[in-house]
């Protein structure tokens, strides 16, 4: 079963909490483990927390569940800055963006939509155990 939500917020720090809460609500709905929610929130926050990635005033976060895969897209984003950071090493960033996204989400790539950049991420959903 596919479930999808799209949240559009101003690209401003106070709205990161709104995004976190919505992702948390979705995680509850999907029965995701807390650590999966944490990984998802950290990945999205890292993008939303960098003004260099902003294109205009707003940003959207799309989350879809397709079977056992959690697919997340964030955009529109400034493709040049994002591509630069995705290719940068730990020597430049301390913890490279690519490394952080790989650790939290697994697969990630920059895609073009209507001439703007979107970050696509895919994370396997661990199977939860039924509670007693």
């Amino acid at each position: 079963m596919r479930e999808a939500i799209t949240l559009t917020v101003p690209f401003e720090r106070p709205y990161q909490g709104v995004v976190r809460l919505v992702l948390g609500g979705l995680a509850a709905r999907l029965d995701l483990p807390y650590e999966t929610l944490e990984d998802l929130q950290l990945a999205v926050e890292t993008i939303l927390g960098n003004d260099a990635y902003a294109v205009g005033h707003e940003v959207s976060v799309e989350v879809q569940v397709d079977g056992s895969i959690l697919a997340v897209a964030v955009g529109p984003l400034e493709p040049g800055a994002l591509e630069h950071d995705l290719e940068a090493s730990d020597d430049v960033q301390g913890v490279a963006l690519g490394r952080l996204l790989a650790a939290t989400m697994g697969e990630h790539e920059l895609e073009a939509r209507d001439g703007q950049g979107w970050l696509r991420m895919r994370k396997p959903i661990p199977a939860g155990e039924p509670t007693a």
């Binding site: 106070p14 909490g17 809460l21 483990p33 650590e35 301390g94 913890v95 490394r99 952080l100």
Partner: protein
């Protein structure tokens, strides 16, 4: 004749740095107060009085003026901005709670931290929101809200020397403040060379290394380091932010024209 502001600044900076003219320094501070106020306003949603943040930001401005290299050809605005923002952010970290959180949510956050550890052991995996809600006997929405409040708390006070307790102690009851600090092994190269890592303490470095270089999960790290999973989460976020700020400040020092 109107002197362009940047020329006026340069003249004042030269007078201060080359001739020790403290009046020139004072004029620069006054001229850049609007910039400090503008930057401080960005952070005034966090429950702090704007005037307090302006005072903190002024510290950053003064540092920038005092450290400014007149011969580098950069504008003071470019150099001062990351210094002002850095000072304001450090202020929030040092204060503990970034926003005022209702006591009930703080207490629920404490309970959830304990339940998280218990359920992780019981299920041998990270619990779901529903499982946490059931164990805490609250609604799932309350769990989410309490978890969110944990992100509002900067736990710098918990890594201070023992005896420095404050409200923040309640959030991580599994940690004993009286414990002797463990020594944490960190890859020497990374600790010495990686940008931003120099501002981290040993535990923060170790946690980032375990999470992003050795691929451990938060619960695995919590077990290894001897703290709660939620505390690991906060430390990861805080450490990443510290690295980013340090890199931003270093960049403005090295490349003032950027």
């Amino acid at each position: 004749m109107n002197v362009p502001p940047e020329k006026n600044d340069r003249e004042l900076l030269r007078r201060y740095h080359h001739q020790g003219d403290v009046e020139a320094r004072q004029r620069l501070i006054e001229q850049y107060l609007p910039l400090v106020r503008s930057l401080a306003r960005r952070y005034s949603y966090r429950g702090e009085q704007l005037e307090d943040l302006v005072q903190v930001g002024c510290i950053g401005l003064i540092k920038a003026i005092d450290r400014f290299d007149v011969d580098r050809g950069v504008e003071l605005t470019t150099y001062a901005t990351p210094n002002i923002i850095g000072e304001i952010k450090r202020h929030f970290r040092d204060k503990g709670w970034a926003v005022r959180v209702p006591r009930g949510l703080q207490e629920l956050n404490v309970r959830l931290s304990r339940l998280m550890e218990e359920l992780t052991v019981q299920y041998e995996r990270s619990p779901t929101i529903a499982e946490l809600a059931k164990a805490a006997d609250v609604e799932e929405e309350e769990v989410l809200e309490a978890l969110e409040t944990g992100q509002a708390y900067a736990t710098l006070s918990l890594s201070a020397p023992s005896g420095g307790g404050d409200d923040g102690d309640d959030l991580d009851p599994l940690e004993s403040l009286g414990e002797i600090e463990k020594e944490y092994e960190v890859s020497e190269d990374r600790a010495l060379l990686a940008p931003g890592w120099k501002v981290l303490d040993d535990r923060e470095r170790r946690i980032l290394e375990l999470r992003f270089f050795e691929g451990l999960t938060q619960s695995q790290i919590a077990q290894q380091v001897g703290i709660s999973q939620m505390h690991v989460s906060r430390l990861i976020r805080r450490s990443l932010e510290k690295i980013r700020e340090e890199i931003a400040v270093d960049a403005s020092d090295l490349h003032p024209n950027a």
